[in-house]
């Protein structure tokens, strides 16, 4: 099955005529994703080099293509509007790659999208990939391998690192999703776990967390109360100093909370083994599968 994206995904790329949007639209097509259109206001009517039609608005694009998913590569100042527009046009899944959306915009966006039945991934997300089916985002497709491990993560390249080790050891993935490093995101760790719990094809979930907030602690609580899949975890930021933002807007230890130590303790208490290095995830997963 996999979750969120698959062969039925019909994708619109918002910001397709930009440098990043254009490059990744091409990459996604190559991977086999059905990229049915792109949107750039004022550039409607043209086609990209790959022959993808460009529309002026999401409303127009959805009407012409029957798209159900969109991915956003527009500058931060326009990204919030892009999410609203996609949701208003009836898109069911919006993956926001753009980073730098003010938190105040996110707390307004999410009630809006929820009311319209749209799920938002991100912002500041590397995207979602169901290996062999569809890739929606910026991750390198070739490091992934089809299988039955679900991966959910707050970061990008760290996820690639973990996935790289999994694939090289023959451990394939059902779906890998990057939920984004911002403090307020559309789909958090708990939401992602619920999606994997309901997926027949996912046997085990790898959680890649980091300092800041307390999503990991809440996830540990859910596991303790009886989560239907096996879980392995990694937490980044054991050496992060308090009060400093570690790149991601949400990766900060404030007032002594949100530390890696607390998160690791919470997982261990719930019986989840936490890897000390990214490559060690492989041993833990193999142990759980045995």
């Amino acid at each position: 099955m996999s979750i969120l994206v698959d062969k039925d995904t019909r994708l619109i790329v918002q910001g397709i005529t930009g440098r990043d949007g254009g490059f990744h639209a091409s990459q996604m097509l190559t991977y086999g994703t059905k990229v049915v259109g792109g949107v750039t206001p004022g550039k409607g009517g043209m086609k990209t080099e790959d022959g993808v039609p460009v529309f002026n608005s999401m409303e127009e694009a959805v009407r012409a293509t029957g798209a159900n998913t969109s991915v956003i590569y527009v500058p931060a100042a326009f990204a919030a509007d892009a999410v609203y527009e996609a949701s208003d046009a009836g898109i069911k899944l919006v993956v926001c790659i753009s980073e730098g959306i003010p938190v105040k915009e996110m707390i307004r966006i999410l009630p809006y999208t929820r009311e319209r039945g749209t799920r938002v991934i991100g912002p500041n997300s590397p995207g979602v990939i169901s290996p062999g089916k569809a890739k929606v985002g910026i991750m390198p497709g070739d490091i992934h391998k089809e299988g039955n491990i679900g991966v959910v993560s707050r970061s990008g390249t760290l996820t690639y690192e973990v996935v790289y080790h999994l694939s090289r050891n023959g451990l394939g993935q059902s779906t890998c999703m990057g939920i984004g490093g911002d403090p307020v995101i559309g789909t958090n760790l708990l939401d992602s776990m619920a999606l994997f719990a309901a997926d027949d094809e996912t046997d085990l979930v790898v959680l890649i967390g980091e300092i800041g907030g307390n999503d990991e602690e809440l996830a540990a609580g859910i596991i303790r109360d009886g989560y239907p899949k096996k879980v392995a975890a990694f937490i980044a930021g054991r050496t992060a100093p308090p009060g400093k933002r570690m790149g991601h807007a949400g990766a900060i230890v404030t007032g002594g909370t949100g530390t890696a130590a607390e998160k690791i303790a919470a997982f261990e208490e719930a019986g989840v083994e936490v890897a000390t290095t990214p490559s060690q995830i492989v041993d833990i997963v193999k142990g759980l599968m045995a």
Partner: protein
């Protein structure tokens, strides 16, 4: 982004919060005129971007203009947690009968603005949260409706049984919420929010942090940044669009992606050494960024080896390799560079590095071990 108390007071005043009048001065002698205009007693307050100013002796009461000058002289130039006091605020003093706390943050889980109030004001709210959590009332606010009258009543009655004081608290809560939302704050605090012996309510301290992501639409606030309070490397990094945090170890790191950068630091520690920094060069493989990153790390004389850990996706390994060769040529450095490049165009990158004095690593683990070993030589 942190802003100074004087700027936070200015924002609060704009939203009609009851902030006592004040003057900002940079020379001790200016305190005389300021205290004279405001009327004594006054409080002399160091303007530095760290907490615990009071405990450090950076906040003093003066009952005459002459005393204000003397206190200002003792505070100006003072070192508070590594920061030199260059400005002090002279504020009209308020007698304190009661001290409350009022603050606002964004609650990550409910994804809503959250107001927190407490009758235990004047002390660190995190301490109150740990020792007496029952003394904090948290109220989630729906951004579609704003703060509602019933919530205001509930908060006021949590703080006081006095109707006259409660009547003044309502507008304070509303203004705090409005100020928080209007300036895209990530934190806004009045600590303490006091009641004077005559029953009047005052916001005698002000703290606001601004959401960095919102600065593109707040030019006026962006100008309030005080770079003197930051590590020079961190300022330079921000100007080069890099994310950098200085640490105390001797292994410098250049990594693409925040999560991988943290994991790299953690692994250095795991194998028994200490990282010198956190540095995320972001998703782009622009050779200029690699050069800028290298310059920032080389400022730190503790650094004995630099580990470059790149997992190429959009970032192309060969571009990074070119940037590194360029940096090696143009920058004076006597520390070894250990390079781990995996992903897009990895083979081309390895060809570029072969034959140079850059040390190639097969994996992240291998790179970290090599860096530690070479730093120890």
């Amino acid at each position: 982004m942190k802003i100074h108390e004087v700027d936070a007071r200015g924002i609060f005043s704009r939203f009609s919060l009851p902030v006592p009048p004040s003057r900002l001065i940079t020379e001790a002698e200016q305190a005389r005129a300021a205290a004279g205009e405001l009327g004594c007693p006054v409080v002399v307050k160091a303007q530095v971007l760290v907490g615990g100013r009071g405990k450090a002796g950076g906040v003093k009461l003066a009952s005459t203009p002459a005393e204000a000058v003397e206190k200002a002289r003792s505070i100006l130039g003072m070192d508070i947690k590594g920061l030199t006091v260059e400005k002090v605020l002279i504020a009209k003093a308020v007698d304190i009968a009661e001290e409350f706390y009022a603050g606002m943050v964004i609650d990550r889980i409910s994804r809503k603005p959250l107001m927190m109030i407490s009758p235990a004001g004047g002390i660190d709210i995190e301490e109150v949260a740990r020792s007496t959590p029952e003394k904090i009332l948290k109220v989630k606010i729906d951004p579609a409706t704003g703060l509602l009258p019933f919530q205001v009543r509930r908060m006021a009655s949590f703080l006081t049984g006095d109707k006259e004081i409660a009547r003044q608290l309502g507008p304070v809560f509303t203004a705090l919420y409005q100020a928080f939302m209007e300036v895209d704050a990530s934190l806004a605090e009045i600590n303490p929010l006091v009641v004077d012996p005559q029953g009047r309510v005052w916001a005698i301290d002000a703290k606001i942090n601004i959401d960095d992501n919102s600065l593109f639409r707040h030019r006026d606030l962006a100008g309030m940044r005080d770079e003197s309070a930051e590590d020079p490397g961190e300022v330079e990094a921000r100007n080069s669009d890099l994310s950098f945090v200085k640490l105390d170890g001797n292994i410098g790191c250049i990594v693409n992606g925040a999560g991988l950068a943290m994991a790299t630091m953690d692994m250095i520690k795991h194998y028994g050494a200490e990282p010198a920094n956190f540095l995320d060069i972001g998703g782009s493989s622009n050779p200029e960024k690699v050069l800028a990153a290298m310059k920032i790390i080389l400022r730190d004389k503790n650094v004995k080896a630099i580990l470059i850990n790149i997992f190429g996706g959009i970032t192309r390994c060969d571009d990074v390799a070119k940037g590194l060769i360029e940096a090696r040529k143009n920058l004076k450095m006597d520390v070894p560079l250990i390079v781990r490049l995996t992903g897009t165009n990895e083979e081309e990158a390895k060809k570029i590095i072969r034959g140079t004095d850059l040390v190639s690593a097969e994996s992240m683990d291998d790179g970290v071990k090599k860096a530690i070993e070479m730093a120890g030589r």
